[in-house]
């Protein structure tokens, strides 16, 4: 990035700092960084870490919006810091904080273990009652069948939707948008036969019924997954299940 001219212009970043080990209260620290047209917030953080302050702590890897490591609150909005350009904020300062609704471990690093536990409970893998031997080739799936679940398969687990969800703040046990979208990703896959066993979790109180349908999760999603849509679909399908069980208990289901 060295040969892009900044023309001497700079920009201020106010970064959330917190280290339980060092004691003290959470605080904001200001840094002046070069302003460059093609820099993203992550480039500015890397500049700080390399040149100014090696103690600044955050996660990152791919810098191309697909590994999901670098989610942060940028001026109060959940963003991938590798996709938030300085030019969209210049000349105003940028405030960088850890994603909301997660316990902070240090500076911008938060604990996402709870999400991984929730993800596991929705059984995000293909379930088959009878497995086809490899010698019989692939399960056929037309492009139209693929389109049924495609958008829900695009989730990069970046956690922006959890940071945007008001319900997560109120009800930490809520399974949350990404995990439900991934459950739907398998439920809607023509090769899958596991919806019934996922329902126990997905249709529970901590599952879809905890969602108050604010829809912020879909607004902030950098991959257009539309978790709010997944939750709506799942609610509708669960309601149909209920009607079928309660009103037609002896009829053939599905």
């Amino acid at each position: 990035m060295a040969n892009s001219e900044s023309g001497g212009a700079t920009m201020r970043l106010e970064v959330f700092r917190y280290s339980p080990e060092q004691g003290g209260e959470p605080r904001f620290q200001s840094y002046e960084v070069p302003f460059r047209e093609d820099w993203v917030v992550l480039d500015a953080l890397n500049y700080i870490k390399d040149q100014l302050d090696g103690t600044l702590t955050y996660r990152w890897s791919c810098r191309m919006g697909v590994c999901g490591s670098c989610g942060m609150m940028v001026n109060g909005v959940p963003k991938l810091s590798c996709a938030a350009f300085l030019r969209d904020y210049h000349p105003n300062p940028i405030r960088v904080e850890p994603l909301e609704n997660f316990p902070v471990l240090r500076d911008l690093v938060f604990n996402l273990d709870a999400f991984l536990d929730k993800l596991k409970t929705v059984q995000p893998w293909l379930v088959r009652q009878e497995k086809k031997p490899l010698s019989e080739g692939e399960y056929l799936q037309t492009p139209a069948q693929h389109a049924q679940f495609k958008e829900f398969s695009m989730c990069i687990n970046c956690m922006l939707c959890y940071a945007a969800c008001p319900q997560m703040g109120l009800e930490p046990d809520f399974i949350g948008p990404a995990a439900i979208a991934l459950a739907q990703r398998y439920n809607l896959d023509s090769r899958d036969q596991g919806r019934d066993q996922r329902q126990e979790v997905v249709a529970s109180h901590e599952g879809i019924w905890d969602c108050t349908f604010v829809g912020e999760c879909s607004v902030v999603c950098p991959k257009h997954v539309d978790p709010a849509g997944a939750i709506q679909q799942a609610k509708l399908a669960s309601t149909i299940d209920w009607f079928q069980e309660v009103l037609w208990p002896f009829g053939a289901r599905k």
């Binding site: 040969n3 892009s4 001219e5 280290s19 339980p20 080990e21 060092q22 093609d38 870490k49 390399d50 040149q51 302050d53 090696g54 103690t55 702590t57 955050y58 996660r59 990152w60 890897s61 791919c62 810098r63 191309m64 919006g65 697909v66 590994c67 999901g68 490591s69 996709a83 471990l105 240090r106 690093v109 996402l112 991984l116 993800l119 059984q123 995000p124 893998w125 293909l126 088959r128 497995k131 490899l134 692939e138 399960y139 056929l140 799936q141 037309t142 492009p143 693929h146 679940f149 495609k150 398969s153 695009m154 989730c155 990069i156 687990n157 991934l182 398998y186 896959d189 090769r191 899958d192």
Partner: protein, 580 residues
């Protein structure tokens, strides 16, 4: 010092490590398995692979054709027994991915679709739009979550192999959150940590690709093989190095110079028409295409950009509908990071460091020279890729050899009595002390990590770039030796124990300096040109002296370079012919 014991321990949670874990979960449910990764597994760089994975499945294709493309693509440095095995096992491995839910792109009738890729005479690349690595990684991770015999060590940094009685019996690993080093003991260890593209300044590789696994094996006395072979992908975005997949050309994209001329026809890849055409022009192999860029640049026929000269990758003629369907990520990345929409503008691209053909020396069973230590994927060199890897062979490689390494490790583990607890604990204890003294408690250093890292990056680019000479390599060896010396004087700002990311960048740099030296010295010793290793002072391939794998061995001084023979089965060394 805490210790935990496992049967098989996998270092790295990317595609290879996860495939290995699933094999152990499915086939060896009684073994206790650990996956130790410095990032949450779905952050691993497999996620960034775009174009696809090769395997013979269509009736117009055959195993010999895939073998020949791979052998000739490797410039005859691939081991042919490995290549034949790989080609044979590839289709079932990709089918398994399908049965686990990988959303492969399909034909209208529901069968798997394939697309053309560089250096392949028949189209055989399975794909999931242009996010194949992403879909494979998430499918593997989600599938692996169901196995109860897998223990996950997410955000643990492995810094040392524990070796006792002449065999590998675990690793010393720091839990990043606590800063505590633990002895993670195991009867067998499989390294799956990927490549080390980050030794170069301009790379498609994410920040985590620092070759830690190569580093720990090298330090334990295992040789790094064929390290001089570093792949430049011909089409990266200038500045960021973000990859624009070869699939853009597989779908019909063209490369043009400043005059709009398809310059590859001047470099043995022509004729230009008819197009698209397999194994020719834009679907030539990556080494040849990146080398052609350098010549075109020297002739003054490239286009200047703020981040170095570029050529244009033009996909406009594919039309918006096809671009959205087959190359949506290319469009998204071009818009976000190059400020252009490829539906209406050509994409500026230049060659970018992408992949290491070299790695930890293993045999066909993924075993290293150290009993109990196995390696697979980009971190290993099983000699599938030789001097130049073909695009879409590496995603398949991580499946074929991830599962094979797991089986070999499981078999080894089942024959071992147990682990030598006390001695291993003492080693891990010593590792904790070393890290504290060398980094965390050190106060009198003068060098910044970023300064040494940047100088290493520049030394690699100027010494061991696309074209190399005696002078550039000798100078590179000198610069790296000086940097290693200066690294002893490195100083951290951060003296914390918990989540000290500056410490991890320091330890990564320590590994990278070792790996960089292995690359530079291996290149210096190879006085011929083959595949991605091009020397202007030895411009021809020299089968008489160099139809051999190089082996870099770590010493207290410069690496010692040895050689071993290439395995030839059915394809005697021949000329690489493309375009015809």
């Amino acid at each position: 010092m805490e210790s935990r014991e496992h049967d098989v321990l996998i270092v790295g949670g990317g595609g290879t490590g996860l495939r290995a874990a699933i094999e152990l979960g499915e086939q060896f449910p009684k073994l206790l398995v650990a996956v130790v990764s410095k990032v949450y597994p779905m952050r691993s760089h497999t996620v960034a692979a775009e174009g696809g994975a090769a395997a013979v499945i269509k009736s117009n294709d055959n195993h010999d054709a895939h073998c020949y493309d791979t052998v000739s693509g490797s410039d005859w440095l691939g081991d042919q027994d490995v290549i034949e095995l790989f080609v044979r096992e590839a289709p079932n491995e990709l089918l398994r991915m399908e049965h686990w839910g990988c959303p492969w792109s399909r034909e209208p009738d529901g069968h798997i679709a394939v697309r053309p890729f560089g250096g392949m005479k028949i189209e055989r690349t399975w794909f999931a739009a242009d996010k194949t690595g992403f879909h494979m990684l998430h499918t593997l991770y989600q599938t692996a979550l169901q196995f109860k015999n897998i223990e996950w060590y997410d955000e643990w940094f492995v810094s040392k192999l524990l070796v006792e009685d002449g065999r590998c019996q675990g690793v010393a690993a720091m839990q990043m959150l606590t800063g505590q080093v633990h002895a993670l003991l195991a009867k067998a260890v499989v390294i799956c940590t990927g490549g080390a593209g980050r030794i170069f300044p301009f790379t498609t590789n994410g920040a985590i690709k620092t070759g830690d696994g190569m580093g720990i094996a090298y330090r334990a006395g295992v040789a790094l093989k064929d390290m001089e072979f570093v792949q430049y992908h011909p089409t990266g975005l200038p500045g960021t190095g973000i990859l624009i997949t070869e699939a853009a050309r597989g779908e019909g994209g063209i490369l043009v110079n400043k005059d709009g001329y398809r310059y590859l026809q001047d470099y043995g890849m022509g004729p230009a028409e008819p197009w698209p055409r397999l194994r020719g022009m834009e679907l030539g192999p990556r080494d040849k295409l990146s080398q052609a860029f350098v010549h075109e640049d020297q002739k003054g026929r490239t286009i200047s950009s703020p981040y170095g000269n570029v050529v244009h990758l033009d996909i406009r003629h594919l039309g918006e509908a096809k671009i959205n369907k087959k190359l949506p990520f290319v469009r998204e990345l071009s818009k976000n990071y190059a400020g252009i929409d490829p539906v209406v503008q050509p994409i500026p691209v230049r060659p970018v460091v992408h992949y290491m053909m070299g790695g930890i020396d293993t045999d066909i069973h993924s075993a290293t020279s150290l009993p109990g230590l196995f390696a697979a994927g980009e971190s290993a060199c099983v000699s599938l890729n030789g001097a130049n890897r073909l695009g879409s062979n590496s995603l398949t490689e991580l499946l074929v050899f991830g599962s094979r390494a797991a089986r070999a490790a499981a078999e080894f583990a089942s024959q071992q009595p147990g682990v030598a607890d006390a001695k291993l604990l003492a080693q891990a204890e010593a590792e904790q002390q070393r890290i504290a003294a060398q980094y965390i408690r050190k106060q009198d250093g003068k060098e910044r990590i970023a300064t040494i890292r940047n100088e290493m990056n520049l030394a690699m680019e100027s010494g061991a770039g696309i074209y190399r000479t005696e002078a550039s390599l000798a100078k590179g060896c000198e610069l790296l030796a000086a940097l290693k010396e200066r690294f002893r004087n490195v100083q951290l700002d951060d003296h914390s124990v918990s989540f000290n990311t500056e410490l991890f960048t320091a330890m990564e740099l320590e590994f990278m300096l070792d790996i960089a030296e292995a690359v530079m010295h291996s290149a210096h010793h190879r006085k011929e040109s083959r595949g991605s290793h091009q020397r202007t002072d030895f411009a021809a391939r020299d089968d008489e002296n160099y139809l051999k794998h190089s082996l870099a061995n770590r010493t207290d001084g410069a690496p010692r370079i040895d050689y071993k023979d290439v395995v030839i089965t059915r394809w005697p060394p021949g000329e690489r012919i493309y375009g015809k």
